[in-house]
C-alpha cells in the first residue's frame, strides 16, 4: 500500500471579504460555461494571486441517470445509451457493455466479430486521442493542431459512417457480436487510413513535441506519482505516464487483443508532457494493432447465437476494458429477468477527475487549464 495521499480538505468557500494585505486570496469560478473546461465542468479555484491553493470540482450538470435508465430497459435496449456517456469514444463504451452482457450470458463473440471490434475500437481510440490533442493544444494556446487533428479524425468518422451509418454515437456492436458485416472496401479504407495517419502524427509532433513553449508549458506541470495514481484509482494514459506499465488490453485481455503484438508506452515523470508523449505513442500503437487486425481479419460469422429475448441467469459480473481514457467497467447484477437488476458504470473520467485537485495544487491558473486538458475528461461520462 503506497503512502496514502493526504486527502485534500474541502475548500472553505467563504467570500474573501478581507482588506489590504489579506486580500490576495481570491476565489475564481471557472465554468460551467468556460471554454477550457471541456463541457459543463465547474471548477472553483482558490487562488493566491495566480497560484492555486486548491480546487473543487462541481459536476453533475450533465447527469442523465444512465444507470437508472439501464435498470429500466432490456439489455438490448440499453446498448445505444452507453454511447452517450463518453461520446467521443462511443465504440469503446459499446464494446465494454456488449462484452459484459456476453459474459453474463456466457456467449462468446465469434472471432471475426472480435477482430472487427478491435479495429473499430482502436480507430475510436485514435479519434478520441486526436480530439484530445486538438483541444488540449488549443487550451495551451496552439490553435493550429486542432484543425489538423479534426481533419484526420474526419477520416475515422467516415469509416464509422460507412460501417454503421452513424459518426459519433455509433452503436456499432450488438450483444453477441456485430450486427453489420463490413462493407465492401472496408479493409481497403482502413488500410489506406493506417498508411495515411503516421505522417500526420509526425506533423502534430513537429508542431509540438520540440516546441520550446509547449515543453515549458507542459513539463513538470500537473505532476502525479504512480503511488498517487494508484491510490486515487487513476487509470489510462495518466497512470501509464506516471510509469506504471498497466493496460487492461495486456493485463486482462479481452476481445481479440491477445492475438496482437503491441507495446504499452510508458512515461517517467507523470507530468503533462509525458502524458502527451504517451498518448502520441498510443496512437502509433493503435495503428499497429489496426494494421495487424485488418491484415489478419478472419472469415466467419459475425454474430454468436444469442436468444431473441435475453434473460441472463441471475448473477453478477464486473468486466472492464481499456477505454481511451482509462478503465471503463460495467458491473451488472442480473436477476434472471430481461432487464438488469443493477447497472453500474465505472467511468474512467469520473475517477480521473478526482486527481485534478492534487495535480494543480501549488501551480498557476494557466496550469489548471493544461491539467484539465491532459486528464482528457468527457463530461458526458463524468456525469452520466
Amino acid at each position: 500500500m503506497p503512502d496514502s495521499t493526504p486527502h485534500p480538505s474541502p475548500l472553505e468557500l467563504g467570500s474573501p471579504d478581507k482588506t489590504f494585505l489579506d486580500s490576495n486570496e481570491l476565489i475564481l469560478n471557472m465554468g460551467p460555461q468556460h471554454p477550457a473546461t471541456h463541457g459543463v465542468l465547474r471548477v472553483i479555484l482558490k487562488l493566491d494571486g495566480e497560484k492555486v491553493l486548491g480546487v473543487e470540482c462541481v459536476i453533475g450538470y450533465l447527469h442523465r441517470g444512465v444507470e437508472k435508465i439501464g435498470e429500466n430497459r432490456t439489455y438490448a435496449m440499453f446498448n445505444p445509451y452507453v454511447d452517450r456517456m463518453d461520446y467521443v469514444a462511443a465504440v469503446s463504451n459499446g464494446l465494454g457493455y456488449c462484452e459484459t452482457v456476453e459474459k453474463l450470458l456466457q456467449v462468446e463473440a465469434p472471432r471475426r466479430a472480435n477482430y472487427i471490434r478491435v479495429i473499430l475500437t482502436e480507430l475510436n481510440r485514435l479519434a478520441s486521442h486526436m480530439l484530445w490533442l486538438g483541444t488540449h493544444a488549443l487550451d495551451i494556446g496552439a490553435m493550429t493542431p486542432l484543425f489538423y487533428t479534426f481533419r484526420d479524425r474526419e477520416e475515422i468518422l467516415k469509416i464509422f459512417e460507412k460501417y454503421c451509418g452513424a459518426r459519433l454515437t455509433t452503436h456499432a456492436f450488438r450483444i453477441g457480436g456485430c450486427q453489420y458485416e463490413t462493407y465492401d472496401g472496408f479493409e481497403r479504407d482502413v488500410k489506406t487510413f493506417v498508411d495515411f495517419v503516421p505522417p500526420k502524427i509526425d506533423e502534430y509532433e513537429e508542431l509540438l513535441t520540440t516546441n520550446r513553449i509547449w515543453v515549458e508549458r507542459t513539463k513538470n506541470v500537473g505532476k502525479i506519482s504512480a503511488a498517487d495514481c494508484k491510490a486515487l484509482g487513476v487509470t489510462g494514459p495518466v497512470l501509464r505516464a506516471s510509469g506504471v506499465k498497466w493496460d487492461i488490453r495486456k493485463a486482462l485481455p479481452y476481445a481479440a487483443y491477445s492475438d496482437f503484438d503491441f507495446e504499452i508506452p510508458v512515461g517517467a515523470n507523470g507530468d503533462t508532457y509525458d502524458r502527451y508523449l504517451v498518448r502520441m505513442q498510443e496512437m502509433r500503437q493503435s495503428l499497429r494493432i489496426i494494421r495487424q487486425a485488418v491484415e489478419g481479419l478472419p472469415e466467419g460469422p459475425i454474430m454468436a447465437k444469442v436468444p431473441k429475448v435475453m434473460k441472463p441467469p441471475a448473477g453478477e459480473v464486473y468486466h472492464s476494458i481499456e477505454a481511451p481514457k482509462g478503465e471503463l467497467g460495467y458491473f451488472i447484477v442480473s436477476d434472471g429477468s430481461t432487464q438488469p437488476y443493477r447497472m453500474r458504470v465505472r467511468p474512467p473520467s469520473f475517477v480521473n477527475l478526482q486527481a485534478l485537485d492534487l495535480m494543480v495544487r501549488g501551480q498557476l491558473v494557466a496550469d489548471v487549464v493544461a491539467v484539465i486538458g491532459t486528464l482528457d475528461i468527457v463530461l458526458g461520462e463524468v456525469d452520466r
Binding site: 478581507k18 482588506t19 489590504f20 486580500s23 490576495n24
Partner: protein, 169 residues
C-alpha cells in the same frame, strides 16, 4: 517655427492642471483620483512642451503617467475600496489646513515678488533641435555626481523593496 495660439494653450493647460488637481483631492473613489492625477501630469507635460523642453515632457509622460501611475492604479485596484468610500473624506482639521495652505501660498507669492531678480526675465531659448542633446550633456557633464548619487539611491531603494517583498514569499 512660429508658435500657434500660445496663450490659449497655456491657459488651457494651466486650467486643466488646476482642475485635475482639485479632482484628485475631492474624488471619493481612489481610482478616479488617480486618473485625475494622470490627467494633471499629462497637462503638465504639455506645459513643458510649451517651454521648449520636449525631453522633459517625454520623460514626464513615460515615467509618471505611463509608469508610476500604473503602479499606483495597481495598488489601488488590489486594495478593497469599499471602506474608503464610506468614510468621511475630510477630517476636522480644515482650519489648520487652510492656515498652512495660506502660509505656503504667501511664501510663494513673497518669493516671487521679492526675488524677482532671481528669475530670468528674458528666457534664453534653447534651440529645440538640440534640446535633448543639451540635457544629456548637462546630466553627464556638469551634474554627473548628483546624477550618480540619485541613481545609487534608487538602486538602494530597489534592493530594499526586493528584500522586503521576498520575506513574504
Amino acid at each position: 517655427m512660429t508658435p500657434v495660439a500660445t496663450p490659449f494653450f497655456f491657459y488651457f493647460l494651466a486650467a486643466l492642471t488646476l482642475l485635475s488637481a482639485i479632482l484628485v483631492i475631492t474624488r471619493k473613489n481612489a481610482v478616479h483620483s488617480a486618473l485625475a492625477l494622470i490627467l494633471g501630469l499629462l497637462a503638465q507635460a504639455g506645459l513643458y512642451l510649451m517651454l521648449y523642453a520636449p525631453f522633459v515632457a517625454g520623460v514626464q509622460i513615460i515615467l509618471y503617467a505611463g509608469g508610476i501611475m500604473v503602479l499606483f492604479l495597481f495598488v489601488i485596484m488590489l486594495v478593497n475600496l469599499e471602506r474608503s468610500q464610506k468614510e468621511e473624506q475630510f477630517n476636522r482639521q480644515w482650519l489648520v489646513g487652510s492656515l498652512a495652505a495660506t502660509a505656503l501660498g504667501g511664501l510663494l507669492v513673497a518669493v516671487f515678488i521679492k526675488g524677482k531678480a532671481l528669475f530670468p526675465t528674458s528666457s534664453t531659448q534653447i534651440a529645440e533641435a538640440s534640446n535633448t542633446q543639451q540635457v544629456g550633456e548637462l546630466l553627464y557633464g556638469q551634474y554627473m555626481f548628483p546624477f550618480e548619487i540619485a541613481s545609487l539611491l534608487l538602486l538602494v531603494a530597489i534592493i530594499g523593496a526586493v528584500v522586503m517583498a521576498k520575506k513574504r514569499i
